[in-house]
């Protein structure tokens, strides 16, 4: 009973973080700040989700699998975020070199003066 | 009694129509490939749902095996399609077929079809 209540509270809170991360993706102006919102919020959201589900795990094996899912997803998310950020940064620099007028004003302010 | 099979069978039928619409109306070749894949997974879903209609017991394994075969072949076909699209774009410089570019929106389009120096 207590376990069920904890699961509901934790997964519910996790969902809120996912919601915030998604809102960030839609609302934030440029790639880097979108990434920031997404990775931070989603990693916390996933952690809470896994923690909540852990209270429903029937045995240690399931618990271990949940932990593995969490760890692998964290590593994958962190790596992807780095790669996307680097790619966005480099293409930003390239487009700054190519033309003075950037398409996205937010990107040019983030980059600083070219 | 509405089961999962009913819902996803109808979903598959809808996906076939959706993919067909995209396949006909999209001009970009890679988008056609996407639409082709949507049609494919719609067919798989419809087929798999017919195998899962019995509410009791396990799903019929024969359609499952055929669908697994189908998914793998669909990837192979998509990879070949992507290769063909890239080769076509390399030669023509365009990602849509000339007859599409010419017939839609009325009248031929002044577009360059000469090959880049290879």
């Amino acid at each position: 009973m207590l376990a069920d209540a904890l699961t509901i509270v934790l997964t519910g809170t996790g969902m809120l973080f996912f919601f915030a991360g998604t809102a960030g993706i839609i609302r934030f102006p440029d790639t880097l700040s979108r990434l920031h919102a997404l990775t931070k919020a989603d990693n916390v959201g996933l952690g809470l989700l896994i923690l909540g589900l852990a209270f429903q795990a029937p045995d240690l094996l399931t618990l271990g699998k949940l932990a593995l899912v969490w760890a692998l997803a964290l590593v994958a998310a962190g790596t992807t975020a780095q790669l996307v950020a680097r790619s966005a940064w480099q293409s930003g620099e390239q487009s700054a070199e190519r033309s003075a007028d950037a398409h996205d004003p937010a990107e040019s302010t983030l980059r600083g003066d070219p | 009694m509405i089961t999962s099979a009913t819902i996803f069978g109808l979903c598959g039928a809808a996906l076939i129509g959706l993919g067909l619409y995209g396949f006909v109306t999209q001009v970009h070749l890679l988008r056609r490939l996407l639409a082709f894949n949507v049609i494919g997974s719609g067919i798989f879903l419809l087929f798999g749902a017919t195998a899962a209609r019995t509410p009791t017991g396990a799903t019929d394994p024969v359609p499952q095996a055929l669908i697994i075969t189908g998914i793998v072949v669909a990837l192979a076909a998509t990879a070949l399609g992507v290769g063909l699209v890239l080769a076509y774009v390399r030669i023509s410089g365009k990602a849509c077929l000339p007859e599409d570019a010419d017939t839609i929106d009325g009248g031929p389009h002044p577009s360059s079809h000469e090959d880049p120096p290879e």
Binding site: - | F8, I16, L30, T54, G57, A76, A79, A87, D105
Partner: protein, 319 residues
Amino acid sequence: MTGISALGFDLILAALILGAGLFAITVRDLFGAVVFFIVYGVFVAIAWLRLGAIDVALTEAALGAGLTGVLLIGAVARLSRVTTPAGNNTSDEMRRPPAGARLASMVVAGSISGVLGWAFLSLPDSTGLRDAVADNLAVSGSANPVTAVLINFRGWDTLLESVVLLAALVGLWSLARDRDWGRRAGLRQHARPGGVMATFGRLLPPFGLLLGVYLVWAGSSYPGGAFQGGTVLAAVWLLIMMAGLMPVPRMVSVGLRAVLVAGPLVFLGIGIAGAMAGTFLGLPPTYAKPLILTIEAALTLSIAATLALLVLGTPDPSP
């Protein structure tokens, strides 16, 4: 999940599938369309889970959402390099047929969906071949009915499929230009040594290898098998190559070609041995299990190599 909550879940999932599919087809940005298509694949994999088809769900998640995603993102990247450098849509390619034609296609496509849905709903209930498979499962050499069908009962289909995969790769490679022939397949990889990608490429493969081999091994009794395991191994190989830890093989490499044909050859050899004993592709019940594992092991290697090379594509045209 039972009753009303299961119904609600299925309805929401079906709506998400249709929504993602719709965006994959209609979104203006090509890259966005590809991303929606990948999301669509993940949703479809969950739908397979809800239909009780775990083997199909694994295949769809690994192939439909995973490898297809890598393939299509690579295609968008290569397209944008060949055509306009900045965007991926020229005005020509975004042009649509006139509204009348679009409406007509919508009506035709909608009626086809309607007819298919009606046909689906009016089908009589049937258990299909489920009981026939269950009755013969004991002599098939596999406790997983799907593996039994794939390798034993319908071995023909699977043998021909492995040849189709090979044919697709031959077709793809034949699109390479003469002067690119013999070079390394696919895009040039440019991960920095010691960078994030290289670390990731060192961290993940042990887990991937374990999972891939486990899926093949478990496939004889639980969900899993050569296709699911092979796809995971293909993904591991792709990751290692993208991280720059292993060179992409040359298309003319003899060893590579041996791996590509190993699966179909072993399958065919066992099939011919069966023909001498009575039935082509017939597996005698006493040896069925080791034979299935042999075929699956060889097929897994070939499938992994073929899928990875299909995703890599033809060599990057030299600048």
